[in-house]
């Protein structure tokens, strides 16, 4: 046996895992209900994907079913979060990762805009204060020096 390729090995097929099976259809049905609720009562909702016994194939199937939409946002706070609207308007796929890139939470949000993207009222007030301070500093800098 002179060549590596002549060593008799058998490559095992990838394991056929269990997982949700028909559960992807159930999630899509649930999303219809949540979209109707958002339309009728303005009530947002979310599905926590990590609470479901989904395997890699289930997740891939769900991603394919929901597709890619027009909006993608990246949040850089204690790690990167990818927030994108799927091709189903009002259905957002949200991935929160930590500073090491590990997945902390994975959600499907049914909402007009994920709340984490919105600026809080207290932050808006802080923003106005920061701008006032900046204007004050600029006016001090422009004042002529007197001896």
């Amino acid at each position: 046996m002179s060549r590596l390729s002549e060593i008799p090995i058998r490559i095992e097929p990838p394991p056929a895992l269990g997982g949700l099976g028909g559960g992807v259809t159930a999630i899509l049905s649930e999303l219809i209900s949540l979209l109707e609720r958002l339309t009728n009562s303005q009530e947002s909702a979310a599905i926590d994907l990590r609470s479901l016994p989904m395997n890699v194939d289930d997740l891939a199937e769900l991603r394919r079913a929901l597709g890619e939409g027009e909006v993608r946002a990246t949040l850089d706070a204690e790690g990167i979060s990818a927030i994108r609207e799927t091709k189903v308007p009002g259905v957002w796929w949200v991935e929160h990762r930590d500073r090491h890139g590990e997945l902390m939470a994975e959600l499907i949000e049914v909402t007009r805009m994920p709340q984490i993207l919105m600026t809080a009222s207290e932050e808006i007030a802080t923003g106005a204060r920061l701008l006032r301070e900046q204007i004050a500093l600029r006016s001090v800098a422009r004042r002529p020096l007197t001896v």
Partner: protein
């Protein structure tokens, strides 16, 4: 303007450390996910915590291997450092703190005095009572003395790991040090058992976060474990469950069934009788859990897991609760039930604790007189 760290809210402390509101929402969303709470709770939790004061936390390490603390400090990010310094005020942990000797012990005493009745006591490890408690001492005090003293002013006790919750490996036969779980020593305080060898880091931080957020002990099962994490068996939420239902089982660790990812029940998996969140929260930041790596569940979050026969014998052949079990295990189950009842109805079960303690000391004395040690 607050004068001391004790008066600083979580939100203020976050700002001081440069953690944004959105970063904290992410942390709370991950924690809510780990706690099986509705995802929207993450935002609500972040808002509530931002205005809460940071509770004082004391972490006592007794007869343990430090695996639980290793698990906790490798928790998801924002890391435990953030949790420790922003959400809670960790006033004593002799493994993590820089201070040693008298400085460390006086930090513990001061925190207990300043926060009497309000602090959270975390206990890691079982409590040896044999030889007058001499098997585990620090600063000239035995573990059992330190626990009793620290428990007096605690608002709640969180037992991290199977050793403090159920005795764990030190409690396993022949239990040479007379080890006991915290419930056998303290009977008049709310106790939350976060079992596991080690517990899942997200389960530890999630339990602490839930207590800090609500100020209340979460709903517990009969072994005093938070139901949000211990409400389902591993088997209930296992991705291999469809194969169990179809009767497809791996017969050895390298047969075709194992390669096809079939159910590991016949290889000794204890998933059907083990309550924990491994199948959903998973390990290493949600990467996988033992069954996903091809090994059955050991049942490490259940009382007496070390004494329940071979890890590799199918449950149908393993003798769970076999006849003639040693009395400590029976006493443990009695104790857990009694303390659970006490926690639920809010009645102090100090009498039960004293009885258990008396029995444990008697047990240790008998062992010593028999020359077992």
């Amino acid at each position: 303007m607050p004068h001391s760290d004790a008066e600083v809210t979580v939100g203020e402390m976050l700002r001081r450390h440069g953690i944004s509101r959105r970063g904290f929402i992410k942390f709370c969303t991950a924690a809510a996910s780990a706690m099986a709470l509705p995802p929207a709770m993450g935002v609500a939790m972040a808002d509530q915590l931002a205005h809460a004061l940071r509770p004082s936390v004391l972490y006592l390490s007794f007869q343990e291997c430090t695996g639980c603390l290793e698990s906790l400090t490798r928790s998801f990010a924002p890391t435990i450092e953030n949790l420790i310094f922003n959400v809670i005020s960790l006033d004593y942990d002799d493994t993590l703190m820089a201070a040693a000797g008298e400085a460390a012990e006086s930090a513990r005493t001061k925190a207990m005095q300043d926060n009497f009745g309000k602090y959270v006591l975390i206990v890691d490890g079982s409590v040896p009572t044999g030889a007058g408690g001499a098997y585990c001492t620090a600063g000239g005090h035995s573990a059992v003395e330190t626990l009793r003293e620290a428990a007096k002013g605690a608002a709640a006790i969180v037992c991290v790991g199977t050793c403090s919750a159920f005795g764990g490996i030190p409690f396993a036969d022949p239990n040479p040090t007379g080890a006991w779980p915290v419930t056998a020593i303290v009977g008049d305080k709310p106790i939350i058992n976060v079992s596991g060898c080690p517990p899942i880091p997200e389960v530890i931080t999630g339990t602490l976060l839930q207590f800090v957020t609500t100020g209340k002990v979460p709903e517990l099962d009969e072994h005093l474990r938070p139901k949000v994490f211990f409400g389902n068996t591993i088997h209930d939420r296992c991705y291999r469950r469809p194969f169990y239902d179809e009767g497809k089982f791996a017969k050895s660790f390298d047969d075709e069934g194992a390669r096809n990812g079939w159910c590991l029940y016949e290889l000794g998996c204890k998933g059907p009788t083990t309550y924990n969140a491994c199948a959903t929260v998973k390990w290493n930041g949600g990467t996988s859990f033992p069954i996903e790596s091809g090994h059955g569940c050991l049942g490490c979050s259940e009382p007496g897991f070390w004494d329940k026969g071979s890890f590799y014998a199918a449950q149908s052949t393993a003798l769970w609760g076999k006849a003639g079990e040693s009395s400590p295990r029976e006493v443990l189950e009695l104790t857990a039930s009694a303390v659970a009842a006490g926690a639920v109805i809010g009645v102090a079960s100090a009498g039960v604790s004293r009885l258990r303690q008396h029995r444990s000391e008697q047990n240790a004395d008998e062992r010593e007189s028999n020359g077992d040690n």
